[in-house]
C-alpha cells in the first residue's frame, strides 16, 4: 500500500512527542513493506515547522516551503493537494496539524484519510489541553462551541495583542477558526476521515459521536535505546531517589502535588530525595532538588540512577511517554489516574496509581515503594517487560496498523 504522510509541524530531531510518533510510524510502516512518503510543511519564519537535519530521515520525504506570508489556508491546501496527488497514494495519514487539519481533510478528501490526534485539539481550541484554572475543563468545543470560542480567544489574547504568535495561534488565524463556519468544517472533517487514531479512551469517547471508526494506538519508545538496569539496593545510609521527569515547570504536570507529598513524607522519614527536571533552584528543599532541564542522553543516565519515577499529571495526559521511558529502564512508576497514564501503568504490577492532586495517596505510594525494595524491583522488571511487549514502536506498528489499514475499502 502507498501511504502518504502529511504533517504541518514535523521536525527532526524532534521538538516534541508528536514528531517522534510520526517518525516511528512512517519507519515502522516502511519496515512492514508499505511504500511511504512524508510530505511536511517547512517555514523559515517558524521554528515549529519543518526543520529536518539533512540526511536524517531513513524514508523518502518532500519538504513544502512556506513563509509567514504564504502560509495561508488556501495555499496550504493547494500545495499539499498537488504534491500528494502527484505521488498517487492509496491512503493519506494526516499527522500533526492544529486548526488547519479540517482544511487538509478537505484538500485530500479523495483519499481515505487516517487522522492521528496527539492531544485534545478538536475539543479544546484554547490550547488542546482541556485544562483551565487549575482544573480539568469539562467543556468540549464540539458540544459547547460558543463558550470554547470565547475561551480560545482569551487564551491567545497576549499573542494576538503583541502581534507575535506561536504555530498554534498562527493556524487559529490562518484557518479563520474564530468564524462560525470553522466549527461546521471541523465536524465535517471528523466525519469525513476514514479513521481517527487517538492515544486514549478519553479522546475516543469525545469524538466517537462524530466518527465511529476510532482506533486507540499508544505511543512508544525505541526499546533498543533503553538499557534495562534492574533496581539495585542502596547502601544503608544512602538516600533513595524519586524522579519527576519531563516539563515539570508546566503547571499541568502536577509538580505542586509532588511538592506537597514530599513535605508529607519528610514529616516521617528522611531516607529519600526527590529530583525534578526544572531549572528553578528556588524550589530546592532538604528533600527536593531541581536538577535542571536535561537533554536525551542525560535523561537516560538520570533514569538509571533513580529508584522510583513519579508522573503526577493533573490534566488528562494524552499518553505519558515519561512513564514508558522509566519502565523501559526498569523503574517502578507512580502515576496519577488520568488519560493515557492509567493505561500505561498496570496498577500493582508495574507501578501504583493515585487520583490526580491527591498528595496524601501519592505520599503513601511512595512510602510503600521506599520501604519495600523487592516490590519496587518486581514492578521495575515487570515495567521493562511491558515496555518491550506493549510499547516498543515496531511492535505497536505490527499490532495495530495491519488491522487499521485493512479496513480500507470496507
Amino acid at each position: 500500500m502507498r501511504i502518504a504522510f502529511v504533517d504541518l509541524l514535523f521536525s527532526w530531531p524532534p521538538h516534541g512527542g508528536g514528531c517522534a510518533d510520526v517518525y516511528y510510524t512512517v519507519l515502522g510502516l516502511q519496515r512492514l513493506g508499505h511504500e511511504v512518503h512524508l510530505f511536511y510543511a517547512s517555514s523559515a519564519d517558524r521554528w515549529e515547522r519543518g526543520h529536518v537535519e539533512s540526511g536524517s530521515l531513513p524514508f523518502p520525504s518532500t519538504r513544502l516551503d512556506f513563509t509567514a506570508r504564504s502560509f495561508t489556508a488556501l495555499h496550504v491546501q493547494e500545495r499539499f493537494r498537488s504534491a500528494v496527488s502527484a505521488w498517487t497514494p492509496d491512503v493519506v495519514f494526516l499527522a500533526e496539524a492544529f486548526f488547519l487539519r479540517p482544511h487538509l481533510v478537505e484538500a485530500l478528501e479523495r483519499y481515505p484519510i487516517f487522522s492521528r490526534y496527539y492531544a485534545y485539539d478538536a475539543s479544546c481550541p484554547r490550547d488542546f489541553r482541556r485544562y483551565l484554572n487549575d482544573a480539568r475543563c469539562p467543556l468540549d468545543y464540539l458540544k459547547t462551541p460558543n463558550q470554547c470560542r470565547r475561551c480560545a480567544l482569551n487564551g491567545q489574547k497576549r499573542e494576538i495583542m503583541n502581534w507575535q504568535w506561536s504555530a498554534w495561534t498562527e493556524e487559529f488565524l490562518t484557518a479563520r477558526a474564530f468564524l462560525p463556519g470553522y466549527y461546521d468544517r471541523l465536524i465535517r472533517s471528523l466525519a469525513k476521515s476514514h479513521t481517527l487514531i487517538v492515544y486514549n479512551e478519553v479522546q475516543a469517547e469525545l469524538w466517537r459521536p462524530y466518527n465511529s471508526q476510532i482506533h486507540i494506538v499508544p505511543g512508544g519508545v525505541d526499546i533498543s535505546e533503553f538499557t534495562h538496569l534492574p533496581l539495585q539496593p542502596k547502601e544503608s545510609n544512602a538516600r533513595k531517589t524519586i524522579l519527576m521527569a519531563g516539563r515539570a515547570e508546566d503547571p499541568v504536570k502536577g509538580l505542586s502535588t509532588l511538592q506537597r507529598a514530599t513535605a508529607r513524607l519528610a514529616q516521617t522519614r528522611s531516607d529519600f530525595e526527590v529530583w525534578v527536571t526544572v531549572p528553578d533552584h528556588r524550589l530546592n528543599t532538604e528533600h527536593l532538588k531541581a536538577v535542571g532541564w536535561q537533554d536525551h542522553a542525560h535523561m537516560m543516565r538520570l533514569y538509571e540512577g533513580v529508584d522510583i519515577c513519579v508522573v503526577p499529571s493533573l490534566w488528562e495526559e494524552p499518553f505519558g511517554i515519561v512513564a514508558v521511558e522509566a519502565m523501559a529502564v526498569g523503574r517502578p512508576v507512580v502515576a496519577s489516574r488520568v488519560g493515557g497514564l492509567q493505561m500505561i501503568v498496570r496498577e500493582g504490577e508495574t507501578g501504583l496509581l493515585f487520583e490526580p492532586d491527591d498528595d496524601e495517596m501519592l505520599a503513601q505510594h511512595l512510602s510503600t515503594l521506599l520501604d519495600d525494595f523487592d516490590l519496587g524491583r518486581r514492578m521495575g522488571d515487570a515495567g521493562r517487560k511491558r515496555a518491550e511487549t506493549e510499547y516498543d514502536w515496531q511492535r505497536i506498528i505490527e499490532r495495530h496498523y495491519p488491522v487499521i489499514l485493512g479496513g480500507v475499502g470496507k
Binding site: N146, W163, Q164, P209
Partner: protein, 157 residues
C-alpha cells in the same frame, strides 16, 4: 564587520541555539562569544569549546513584565560592551533589547541558519513595538466582536 571581538548570543526557547552559535563562530572565528542562557539550561557539551563565557540569568522564561530582572539583565549586558548582540528570533521585544544593550551591531539567526542584521536604533525598535501592539489590539477587538456577534449552532452528534 571584521573588527568584531566580543559577541553576545542571547538564548530564546527554540531548537536552533547550537546552530546560532556555530553560525556566529563561522562568521567571526576569532571573536570571543558569550552566551546568555536561562538558569538550569542544559548547555550542549559540543558547544563549550566555541564559547568563552556562559552567563546564566535568573530569569527562567524571559519576560518583559519582570521589569526588575529585565533591567538588571540589560545593565549587565551594557557593562560588557559587546560589539555584536545576536538573538535567535526577530521580535519587537528582542529588537528593543538589542537596542538597549548598547552593542555596536545586532543580528538574528533564523532557524535554518539565515543571518539577518537588526537595526540598533532604539526609536525604530520602539516604533515597531508600538505599531505592532496597536495592530494586535485592533485585531483582537475585531475577533472579540466576531465571536460574540456571530454565534455557532452546536451540531447534533
Amino acid at each position: 564587520m571584521s573588527d568584531v571581538r566580543q559577541i553576545c548570543v542571547f538564548y530564546s526557547q527554540g531548537p536552533h541555539f547550537e546552530r546560532t552559535v556555530r553560525c556566529i563562530k563561522e562568521r567571526h572565528p576569532s571573536a570571543a562569544v558569550t552566551t546568555i542562557v536561562p538558569k538550569g539550561y542544559p548547555f550542549p557539551e559540543t558547544l563549550r569549546s566555541d564559547v568563552q563565557e556562559i552567563i546564566e540569568t535568573k530569569l527562567i522564561h524571559y519576560s518583559i513584565q519582570d521589569v526588575g530582572s529585565s533591567l538588571r539583565l540589560v545593565r549587565n549586558i551594557r557593562r560588557a560592551r559587546f560589539d555584536l548582540f545576536v538573538t535567535m528570533f526577530d521580535s519587537p521585544q528582542l529588537r528593543l533589547l538589542a537596542a538597549l544593550t548598547g552593542a555596536r551591531a545586532a543580528a538574528w539567526v533564523r532557524v535554518d541558519g539565515g543571518y539577518f542584521e537588526i537595526p540598533t536604533s532604539f526609536l525604530a525598535a520602539l516604533f515597531c513595538a508600538v505599531f505592532r501592539g496597536l495592530v494586535g489590539r485592533a485585531t483582537y477587538a475585531l475577533l472579540w466582536v466576531i465571536i460574540r456577534c456571530l454565534p455557532v449552532r452546536a451540531a447534533k452528534s
